[in-house]
Amino acid sequence: MNPGIALAATAHHPGFLSPTGVEITFVLVGLATLGAALLTVTTRQLVHAALWLVVALGGLAVEYLLLTAEFIAWVQVLIYVGSVVVLLLFGLMLTRAPIGRSPDADSGNRWVALGVAGAAAVTLVWVVVDAFRATWINLHGAVQGTSRATGTSLFRHWVLPFEALSVLLLAALVGAIVLSRRDDGGRGSE
């Protein structure tokens, strides 16, 4: 797939631009997602942070749907909203995170953080805008992200990383179990 061809193609057919409705939806959902993300990293209530994270991740799932990547969208909902956030909430509970406002949710170097994040934002946005200021995605035609298309490509082209990933998941599972197991009587050799 050569982006040069894609660029040329889009330049030749300005009439195939996506309908503005999708764009408007995308921007609105995007703003909501970004807002939720900002609240996640700034709220002083720890549990709220997890909930705002759900909103942000859910917003991303909607964006995936708008980009016609439906399979990814469902996986996003299932794995992130369904399990990761639940895990995080469990974590907050187990570490007895305070419910309600905690005045010290931020560490001392928020200004450093702001500086680095700001510099990164300026750089990345500039790079991205510079590259894509005249590029359109063609959302018509075959849907790019159906479950069938994605699944087929996964098993036809990406078998090796897929199998490596199973090792990774198993290792993470075993590691997590070993680390969180209490010492009392868990092992016979002690």
């Binding site: 560490s107 001392g108 170097n109 680095v116 510099a119 750089t123 790079v127």
Partner: protein, 665 residues
């Protein structure tokens, strides 16, 4: 046995001796002494056999391809010619003498096993440098010598002086070794080989692209190892090591390595007139400066140290005028008499109980107490001052003659200004050499005052060695100057024998120096009688010589307020030098300059990293150890968000990288 196998045996014997000495030092103390002396002595014999068999024949080369590193291959190769076999004999001779001498000198030292092993290792490394035909292997020996000298100079580990001196020796020579390393690599990549023969061929055909840069880089390393200005400052301080070590380092091994290297690679240097000019300037400054400094020193060993620098200056001067025969000739004869002088100084320090010339000048009867040292050192000092017909006369004469030849513009590749520089500096240094040699002799052996306290009889091993070394001091020069050009492949201009003009000039000036010093000594005799001076280490009758020396060094600064000089109005050197005396005594304050230029920036950089590591990172661990009470609020503040500090650096680094790459290029 083939010649190459024999030659390979020469560095191998002391190396094996060192390894066995280190391994058996603890378990079998009885073997330590034989293991120190016998391999070295055997190596002397083998080296002599190799020299006899190699003789004046064509150079012998043998090589074994050791490794191919990327572009330039490395060989384990031998190169035997007149230069290398003769220097190897000298190294073997001095090393054997030093090992025998150390038997008595360090007889009770608990660290003798490691000391002897290091001396053997040092010898092996120098022999490797001498025999090898490959720059890479030469570099190995070069580095090993550096490390060994670091440990040997720091032998009296308990004293602050020795610790400082050993580190200084290490760092200052390293300062030269960095450019040297770069120079070697540049040379090898220019010539396409590490083999010295190949490099010389390349230099001969003019295939070196940057001869000046390479030669100057190499010169930095040579200046460090051979103690030439401005990297000479480690050498006087290295006197903090035991006297036999000084003899070894100064006479035949470490300092000679630099000269030997330039002699081997001389075509590389003659390819660049600028490098020759720098070498000549370096040699001239070293010769005169060291002569002045030697005249002002109070410590007998420091006088000798500065004199070594001066004599090395003569050799460097000979190389600057393109005459390596003369340089190596002087290297050989100097090796013999300088080893003798240092070993003799050890005897003197043991007998007098002090290393201070001022204190010795207030003692009577030193000559009667140690007649062996009186006679042998007298001869060696005369050789140092280049009085005929001793060895030093012939070899120094050959240097002056080469300089005169070049100053007249008769030497190819060498500008006549270079010749003039070396000639004038050499003649001036001849006066100074005569003066400080005389001053040393008169102050040490012709003092007047209370009888020298008895420190016991000098062990026979120590005095015998002096007489062994006295033989070449007297006879080598006169016997060898006709033969040597054949050994050196007949490349010299027209022999090494003395010629009338420079002989008369050189000898005359030396005599002037001698007479001036004698006159000054006579002139200050009254002051010396009037001002009793000195502190003598009162040791029990048969203390170990090394112990006496260590105490003398340790107390010198306390008694005289300075490591180098003493406030003695009766010193003839003070009269001769006048206002120059104080700066000369302190080596013209070069150390202070170095401290500002090199030491402080390094310290600053190190403490910055130390702050990052210790005060930021370790505080974190420290606090993790559960001692919050000990840590003030400030520390806690500094440690806040530590992982985030790491992450901040990581992300900031990534952003900077991205910006630089995306925008900057």
């Amino acid at each position: 046995m083939t010649l190459t196998a024999l030659a390979a045996l020469v560095p191998l014997l002391p190396f094996l001796g060192a390894a066995a000495g280190l391994l058996l030092g603890r378990t079998a103390p009885g073997f330590v002494r034989p293991l120190a002396v016998l391999p070295t002595a055997a190596c002397l014999v083998v080296a002599a056999v190799v020299a006899a068999r190699q003789g004046t024949g064509a150079p012998t080369d043998a090589a074994h391809r050791l490794a191919t590193t990327g572009s330039v291959p490395i060989d384990l190769s031998l190169h035997l010619d007149g230069f290398s076999v003769l220097i190897a004999v000298l190294v073997g001779l001095v090393a054997t003498c030093v090992q025998v001498y150390s038997l008595s000198y360090l007889r009770d030292d608990p660290r003798y096993p490691s000391y002897a092993a290091l001396v053997s290792l040092f010898t092996a490394a120098m022999l490797l440098v001498v025999y090898t035909g490959d720059l890479m292997v030469l570099l190995v020996g070069w580095e090993v010598m550096g490390i060994c000298s670091y440990f040997l100079v720091g032998h009296y580990w308990e004293t602050e002086t020795a610790r400082a001196a050993s580190i200084k020796a290490f760092l200052v020579t390293k300062l030269g070794d960095v450019p040297f390393l770069i120079g070697v690599f540049a040379l090898a990549s220019d010539a396409g080989t590490f083999r010295i023969n190949g490099i010389l061929a390349a230099a001969g055909e003019g295939r070196l692209h940057h001869p000046t840069v390479i030669a100057l880089l190499l010169l930095a390393g040579v200046a460090g190892k051979s103690a030439q200005f401005p990297l000479h400052t480690w050498l006087p301080d290295a006197m903090a090591g035991p006297t036999p070590v000084s003899a070894l380092i100064h006479a035949a091994t470490m300092v000679a390595a630099g000269i030997y290297l330039v002699a081997r690679l001389l075509p590389v240097f003659t390819a660049s007139a600028a490098a020759l000019a720098v070498l000549a300037a370096m040699a001239a400054v070293t010769m005169i400066g060291s002569g002045l400094a030697a005249l002002a020193q109070d410590d007998i060993k420091r006088v000798l140290a500065y004199s070594t620098m001066g004599q090395l200056g003569y050799m460097a001067g000979a190389l600057a005028v393109g005459d390596r025969d003369a340089a190596v000739f002087h290297l050989l004869s100097h090796g013999a008499f300088k080893a003798l002088l240092f070993l003799g100084a050890g005897v003197v320090i043991h007998a007098a109980g002090t290393n201070s010339l001022t204190a010795m000048s207030r003692m009577g009867g030193m000559g009667r107490r140690i007649p062996d040292a009186l006679w042998t050192m007298g001869l060696a000092l005369a050789a140092l001052a280049a009085l005929p017909p001793l060895s030093g006369f012939f070899s120094k004469e050959s240097v002056l003659r080469a300089a005169e030849h070049a100053s007249a513009g008769h030497t190819a590749h060498v500008p006549s200004a270079v010749g003039w520089t070396v000639l004038v500096a050499g003649l001036a240094a001849a006066v100074l050499t005569g003066a400080y040699a005389t001053r040393l002799f008169l102050l040490a052996f012709r003092g007047s005052g209370p009888e020298v306290p008895d420190h016991g009889r000098q062990p026979a091993t120590m005095t015998t060695v002096l007489w062994v070394l006295a033989l070449p001091t007297v006879a080598f020069g006169g016997l060898a100057y006709r033969e040597l050009p054949d050994w050196f492949g007949g490349t010299g201009h027209d022999g090494l024998g003395p010629v009338l003009l420079t002989s008369i000039l050189g000898t005359g000036l030396a005599v002037v120096g001698v007479l001036a010093a004698y006159g000054a000594w006579q002139g200050t005799a009254a002051i010396r009688r009037a001002a009793p001076f000195g502190a003598v280490v009162a040791e029990p009758a048969d203390a170990e010589p090394a112990l006496v020396e260590a105490e003398a060094m340790a107390t010198h600064e306390a008694v005289y307020g300075d490591i180098a000089s003493a406030e003695d109005p009766g010193d003839p050197g003070r009269l001769l030098l006048g206002p120059l005396h104080r700066p000369a005594a302190h080596g013209f304050h070069l150390d202070a300059v170095y401290s500002v230029v090199f030491v402080r920036p390094v310290l600053a950089a190190a403490s910055l990293v130390r702050f990052l590591d210790r005060d930021v990172v370790e505080t974190y661990v420290k606090a993790a150890g559960g001692t919050p009470g000990l840590l003030g609020a400030a520390v806690r503040k500094a440690q806040t968000g530590n992982v985030q500090t790491y992450l901040g650096a990581l992300l900031a680094g990534a952003v900077v990288l991205a910006v630089l790459v995306a925008v900057g290029t």
